[in-house]
Amino acid sequence: MAKRIAIECSHAISLAAKLANVDVVAAYPITPQTHIVEKLSEYVADGELDAEYINVESEHSAMSACIGASAVGARVFTATAGQGLALMHEMLFIAAGNRLPIVMAVANRSLSPNLNIWGDQSDMMASKDCGWIQIYAENAQEVFDFTLQAFKIAEDERVMLPVAINFDGFYVTHVIEPIIALDQEEVKKFLPPRKIPSYALHPDHPTTWGPIGLPDVQTELKRQLEEALRNSKTVIKEVWKEFGDMFGRYYDFFEPYRLEDAEIAILMMGGHCGTARIAVDRLREKGEKVGLIKLRLFRPFPDEELIKLTKNLKVLAIVDKAFSPGGLGGPVFTEVKALFYNQKIKPEIVGFIAGLGGRDIRVDEFMVAVERAKKALMGEKIDKGFMFLQVRE
C-alpha cells in the first residue's frame, strides 16, 4: 500500500530507482547529487537491491558503463550534477544516438568557475542538445513519480531514449518533505521488468554499434533521433495518464496555477515554481491578474501545447536559471520566443535570468519580475528582451 513518509528528495529518487528494480548503477559522487548514489550503494550493500553497483573513476566512465549495460538489456540508473554532467557530455550523445533507455537524475548545479556547488540549471542546459528526454521536477513527490515513469517511457519500444530527471541542487535535493511512496507490489504492476530487445548486445550474436557514420547516413540518423524525441510526447502522455489512473497523481507537460483569467504569467521550470506560486497569490491579493505556468518537459519541447495554454495571455515573464553568454537570453526564453515568432497572436515575452549559483529567488523578486514584465506591455521594453534579475550594482 502507498504510504505517506518523510524523505529527503535525493533519497526519494534512490527509493524510486530501487523500486524500479534497476540492474546496474554506475555513478561517481558529486555534490549535490551525492546522497542519491550513497543511498543506492547502501541498498546494494545491504542486499535490499539486487543490482550491480559499478564504482567508476569519472562521470565519463559512469556514462560509458551505463551505455554498455543498457546495450545488453539491463535496466540502468545513474545520477550526476554540474561538472560531472559536463564531463559526461560526450557520452550523453552516444547514449541517445544508440537509443539506450538509461534513466539519470541530474541534481542541477552551476558550472565552474568559480567553484560553486550550488544550484542552477546551467549544467543540463549546456547539454540540452544531447538527444535525451529532459524533465524538470519541483519537489520530492515529482522526483519520485517521474523516476518510476521515466523507466517506462524510456523503455517503450516507440521511444527507446534516455531520460534525464532534473531537480535543483540543494533547494530540492536536500529538503526533507512528505511524499506518498508506492510499495514494491504497486510499482511492479505499473513497471514490469525491461523487455530485452532482440538486437541487444550478446556474445552469441555479436553486433556493431555506433560505427563510422558517413555523410550519406548521418543526416538520416540525426533526423531519426529528432523524430523519436518528437514522437515520445505521445508515450509520455500515455504513461503519465496510466500512472494517474493507477495512483491518482496525474501529470501534464505543464502545471498551470491561477491561469484561468490571467493576463500575465510567470513561466519557469523546477523547484522555485513553488516560491513563484506564493508571489502569484500575493499579486492576486492586490488584484493583479497573474498566474504561473510550471514547465515540466523541456525536451521534447511541448510547443503546440504551450501556444494553446497561453492564448489568452498578454505577457509571459520567463525566468531561467541558466543562460548562454553572448546569446539571446535564457534557454526557455529563447525557445519560447522562437516558438511564437510565426504566431499571429502572441504575448509579450520578457526574459529574466535568476537563481544562478544557488542564489535564492525570493517571493518579492518574482513580484519585481512581474512588475517589470508588465511595463513591456506599455512599450517600456528591455534591451534584447531579457535581463538579469538579481545583479548587485
Binding site: 518523510a6 536536500h174 526533507i176 518533505e177
Partner: protein
C-alpha cells in the same frame, strides 16, 4: 506556517535535529520541510538548519528570512552572530545556556520571548558528550507546542538505536521538563 532557524556549530547536530522534527511533524500528518544551510560545513564552524511546519502543503523553496522560532545550540555563537535577526516580533528564541533568565535578559537584552535550558549540562550528564541537539529538541517541543513530545521521541528512537537511543530519549525528556519559558 511556522518557520524555524537553527544555529549550531558543525558537529553539534543542528541539521539532524531539524530532520528529526520534520519526520515527527510528517508522522503527525502535518506538512513540514527540513533543510541545511547549503554550505561546505566544517566541524566547529557556525552552521544553520531550517524547518517549516504547516497544516497545508508547503510550496516555498526560499530561504527562511523571518523565522517564528530561533534555536541556538551553542551559546558562544551569541558573541559573533545576531541570532535574532529577522525573528518575528511575537517569535521565540530558544537558547542553550547555563545562565538564569534575568542574566540572559541583562546580558543580551533580548526583546523577544525566549526559552532557556542548560542543554550542555543535560547532554554531558546523560549522553557523556556535549552534543546538545536532542536536548534542544525537548526544549523546542516545550517552548513551541507545535509537535507532540511522543512523536519526537518516536523518531529519536528510530534514528538512534540501542543505548545511544535510550540516552538521547532521556536527554529529550529531561530537557523538556527543565526548559524555562520567559516573557
Amino acid at each position: 506556517m511556522i518557520e524555524v532557524r537553527w544555529h549550531g556549530r558543525g558537529g553539534q547536530g543542528a541539521v539532524t535535529a531539524a530532520e528529526i522534527l520534520a519526520h515527527a511533524a510528517i508522522n503527525e500528518g502535518k506538512y513540514a520541510q527540513a533543510f541545511p544551510s547549503f554550505g561546505p560545513e566544517r566541524r566547529g564552524a557556525p552552521v544553520l538548519a531550517f524547518n517549516r511546519f504547516d497544516e497545508k502543503p508547503i510550496w516555498t523553496r526560499s530561504d527562511v528570512y523571518e523565522p517564528d522560532v530561533v534555536v541556538v545550540l551553542d551559546p558562544t555563537l551569541l558573541k559573533t552572530i545576531n541570532v535574532v535577526e529577522g525573528l518575528k516580533p511575537n517569535g521565540i528564541l530558544i537558547l542553550n545556556t547555563s545562565k538564569k533568565p534575568e542574566e540572559v535578559k541583562e546580558k543580551y537584552g533580548f526583546k523577544s520571548n525566549f526559552a532557556i535550558v542548560n542543554a550542555t549540562r543535560i547532554a554531558l550528564d546523560i549522553i557523556g558528550v556535549p552534543i546538545v541537539n536532542t536536548s534542544m529538541l525537548g526544549a523546542f517541543v516545550k517552548a513551541t507546542k507545535i509537535l507532540k513530545l511522543d512523536s519526537v521521541l518516536e523518531v529519536v528512537k528510530e534514528r538512534f538505536k540501542g543505548k545511544i537511543g535510550e540516552r538521547n530519549i532521556n536527554a529529550v525528556t529531561r530537557a523538556y521538563h527543565e526548559t524555562t519559558i520567559v516573557g
